[in-house]
């Protein structure tokens, strides 16, 4: 058996390294390492609770608003308040703008460039992929950046700027919108829709959003006009990305986008073709293979702690190992849509489980589903009605904020004592997906997805490994925070 340490993986937001044990030309075990520690949970201790709103978005430059939203929810929970309707619509619009921009960034800047690798020179689609998707010089990234920047002007109006806003507050939004801003936001959403329908989907968003099965997806492709999604599906079939990178097939979502009642995408767990309730009390974080002092048994995050140790036997990552009821789960757009009951996603999972192709399709599906919702939320705003209610958490209190970032479930657990943050624990999406082994030896979701892949001991690392790693849209800066 040979051991290979491979890194840095780039185009993953942050630093990532993977150790592969290889035997007979395939991965027998993978160990995923996050080689960067920053210590936000330690930094937050002793701060005034509201200061979390400044600190936590800076955990992550790509899911900054999701971090803000989780903190705002935790603070609102601690104070026992909820935003007024305008505040709720603004929070939804802001989170949706980030999540959709992230999906687009992932597809065009992080994921697709791997198909322009030399390894694929003999494929019929290779030259097209190079022209369209090659990093920085391809025609697609150069079309997408200006369209994305125009779309992000929604953030200028809703949140002052992106990343790192303070507009998302426990009581609502600091930014009242009047009719002129609503008009301009409407133009931004409509222009983004036009871009997506021309460039990415090659047709109306609703045609794609309402596909109910893999067969319908294939039929939709058959009407091909154009569009980068069809280009991807073509490649996905040729390389059979529908069976690559299967993980745990236990999918979790915390749910997101607050409605008057419940959430647009509800929380839950999808496993073996059945929907299960999310048992938040069953979440634990294990540090058996992480560089942290163990505090007895794995802890629920409300009682958890973070104390880094430089040397520890058996440890190989700064990432902890979160588990749900002791189980490894996968989180992300695929999980979110499976839990929310989208028939296409459930059909894809029934056929091939979590796969590289299914994860990518689920992300684009979510763009097609959510942009029309943004148009609706914008329409529901009533200028002159309240945007934000004041809040002050009690001196002794606790709160939980559960939300979905683009790349999956994000949770903040806050305890306040004597008016200061006593404990603040964060579990980010990639902490779930890229966790190391737990005390029971269960590998994390990516570690499971990499096992069995063909790879030589000395050859260049196959592109397939890159596809699997990036199919999770990892955010390593969040993972360890």
């Amino acid at each position: 058996m040979t051991r290979r340490i491979v890194g840095p993986f780039n185009r993953v937001e942050g630093d990532l390294e993977v150790t592969l044990d290889i035997d007979a030309g395939q991965v027998v075990a993978a160990y995923v390492n996050s080689p960067l520690y920053r210590g936000f949970e330690q930094i937050l201790q002793g701060k005034q609770p509201a200061d979390a709103l400044v600190l936590v978005p800076r955990i992550c430059g790509i899911c900054s608003v999701a971090q803000s939203a989780a903190a705002a929810l935790a603070l609102a929970d601690a104070a026992g308040i909820a935003p007024p309707a305008n505040g709720r619509h603004a929070a939804n619009l802001t989170l949706a703008a980030e999540n959709l921009a992230d999906h687009l960034t992932h597809f065009y800047l992080f994921f697709m460039p791997d198909f322009a690798r030399e390894e694929y020179r003999s494929r019929r689609w290779y030259h097209g992929a190079v022209e369209r998707f090659r990093a920085t010089v391809g025609s697609a990234p150069n079309e997408v950046l200006p369209a994305r920047a125009r779309f992000m002007q929604a953030m200028g109006l809703l949140a002052g700027k992106w990343p790192h806003t303070l507009a998302v507050q426990p009581g609502g939004s600091t930014r009242p919108l009047q009719s002129s801003e609503i008009f301009r936001l409407h133009r931004i959403l409509r222009e983004f829709r036009a871009f997506l329908e021309k460039t990415t989907f090659g047709g109306p968003l609703e045609d794609f959003a309402t596909l109910a099965s893999r067969d319908r997806l294939d039929a939709w492709r058959g009407q091909a006009r154009d569009g980068d999604l069809r280009r991807f599906l073509d490649i996905a079939d040729d390389l059979d990305l529908w069976r690559l990178g299967r993980g745990t097939d236990r999918f979790m979502s915390f749910g997101c986008y607050a409605l008057e009642e419940g959430r647009l995408f509800p929380p839950g767990v999808w496993h073996e073709g059945r929907l299960h309730a999310l048992d938040v009390g069953g979440i634990t974080e294990d540090t058996a293979h992480s560089w942290y002092a163990a505090i007895g048994r794995p802890q629920h995050p409300a009682d958890g702690g973070t104390l880094p140790v430089a040397e520890k036997d058996g440890a190989y990552s700064w990432c902890k190992s979160p588990r749900l009821g002791g189980q490894v789960v996968e989180t992300g757009a695929l999980a979110r849509q499976a839990v929310a009951g989208h028939p296409l996603v459930r059909d894809l999972i029934a056929a091939g489980g979590g796969s590289v192709a299914a994860r990518v399709v689920a992300r684009l599906l979510e763009i097609a589903l959510v942009l029309p919702r943004m148009e609706t939320w914008l329409n529901q705003i009533v200028p002159g009605e309240p945007w934000c209610i004041p809040s002050q958490p009690a001196d002794e209190t606790a709160g939980v904020g559960l939300i979905e970032a683009a790349r999956g479930s994000l949770g903040h657990w806050l305890t306040v004592r004597r008016g200061r943050i006593h404990n603040y624990q964060i579990i980010a999406p990639t902490t779930w997906n890229f966790s190391p082994r737990d005390a029971a030896g269960q590998p994390g979701a990516l570690e499971q997805a990499l096992a069995g892949l063909p790879v030589g001991a000395d050859d260049p690392l196959p592109a397939a490994i890159h596809h699997v790693v990036r199919s999770f849209d990892p955010c390593m800066v969040c993972t360890v925070h």
């Binding site: 890194g7 960067l36 930094i43 800076r58 430059g61 090659r134 950046l145 200006p146 806003t165 930014r175």
Partner: protein, 330 residues
């Protein structure tokens, strides 16, 4: 001009902000200005051994580097080992790579307040012993030391901000590419003066409220954010309200305080970020260059002269009173 970009103890938000550039495609803009990205962790195709090989060549001089951009704090811990960030795939701490390449690069640019001063990562107990390239908070020093100069005699160029505006980054790089950035173009803290010689206050749309000290009392109010809600825009060096963010935004336009994110030590203001510390009802942080006695006198005067329209609108989330219409008498 070639450019090597490395990230360490940060959130990647400077790069994400940069990608929001509104000058057409950022990639085409860079090429057009003669800037060639050798490697960028979020944008380049090369990774794993190819990336490591390139970085090694930059470190030993086989690959000359014109501009080294560092995003994120430099993590010296634990116990001076740099072990809180190893560059993936090897054993060497990132701080060692940065020291080596900075010693050879023609210019070194700190992208964002983390790599300029230490930034948010250095907040609280600073668990990772984070610092900037040439500053440790307000103190000169940092990873490279106060004496560091590039071969042309420049200190580290600090494109401070959390994050920096996309154009602060691009304009700095373009000025370097065209040989237009010298010591005279940097302020006392190494920040490019084209944006650091302004105050965030300049161009603030809440200016009428500021003039009359008609203050917001709670989030979503339209009034001035200085008196109660922690705004440091009258002291913070940046052109945020002239060069707007994401179209037409800025922190103040977004309805929340300027937290002075371009300034060293902003991460520990000594009070809650969104509240204004006061002594005897007077905010402690006065506007830049404003004599205290005059500020107090003018504030008292302007408060007593506040028009009812301004006073009422200041604490509302929409306009209660429009400016009156005056007809010319005929």
């Amino acid at each position: 001009m070639n450019l090597l970009w490395l990230q360490s103890g940060g959130c990647g938000g400077c790069t994400l902000s940069w990608l929001g550039s509104e000058q057409g495609s950022l990639f085409r803009l860079l090429a057009d200005e003669g800037i060639n990205i050798l490697w960028h962790p979020s944008l380049s195709e090369a990774c794993l051994d190819d990336a490591r090989e390139l970085i090694a060549r930059c470190a030993d001089g086989r690959q000359p580097v014109d501009v080294l951009c560092i995003e994120g704090s430099l993590l010296r811990g634990p116990r001076g080992s740099g072990g809180f960030h190893r560059f993936g795939g090897g054993t060497k701490p990132m701080v060692d790579w940065v020291r080596q390449i900075a010693g050879r690069a023609k210019h070194v640019v700190a992208i964002g307040s983390c790599s300029a001063w230490g930034g948010i990562t250095a907040a609280g107990m600073n668990p990772t012993d984070a610092c900037g390239l040439q500053y440790d908070g307000e103190a000169a020093g940092g990873l490279l030391g106060p004496e560091f100069r590039d071969p042309g005699g420049l200190p580290v160029i600090n494109v401070a901000g959390c994050p920096p505006h996309p154009d602060w980054i691009t304009e700095t790089l373009a000025a370097l590419a065209h040989g237009r950035l010298g010591a005279a173009q940097l302020d006392d803290l190494g920040r490019p003066r084209f944006y650091a010689d302004q105050l965030v206050h300049h161009g603030c749309p809440r200016n009428e409220y500021y003039e009359f000290k008609a203050s917001a009392e709670k989030h979503s109010d339209q009034g001035c954010l200085m008196e109660h809600l922690g705004c440091g825009g009258t002291q913070a060096h940046a052109d945020c309200n002239q060069r707007l963010w994401n179209g037409e935004g800025s922190c103040l336009r977004g309805g929340y305080a300027c937290i002075r994110c371009t300034e060293p030590g902003f991460e520990e203001p000594g009070h809650a970020f969104e509240s204004t510390p006061k002594v005897a009802g007077i905010p402690i942080g006065l506007p830049a260059d404003m004599p205290k006695a005059w500020f107090i006198a003018l504030a008292a005067l302007s408060k007593s002269a506040t028009p009812a329209r301004v006073r009422e609108n200041a604490t509302a989330d929409h306009q209660l009173r429009a400016p009156s219409v005056k007809r010319v008498k005929k």
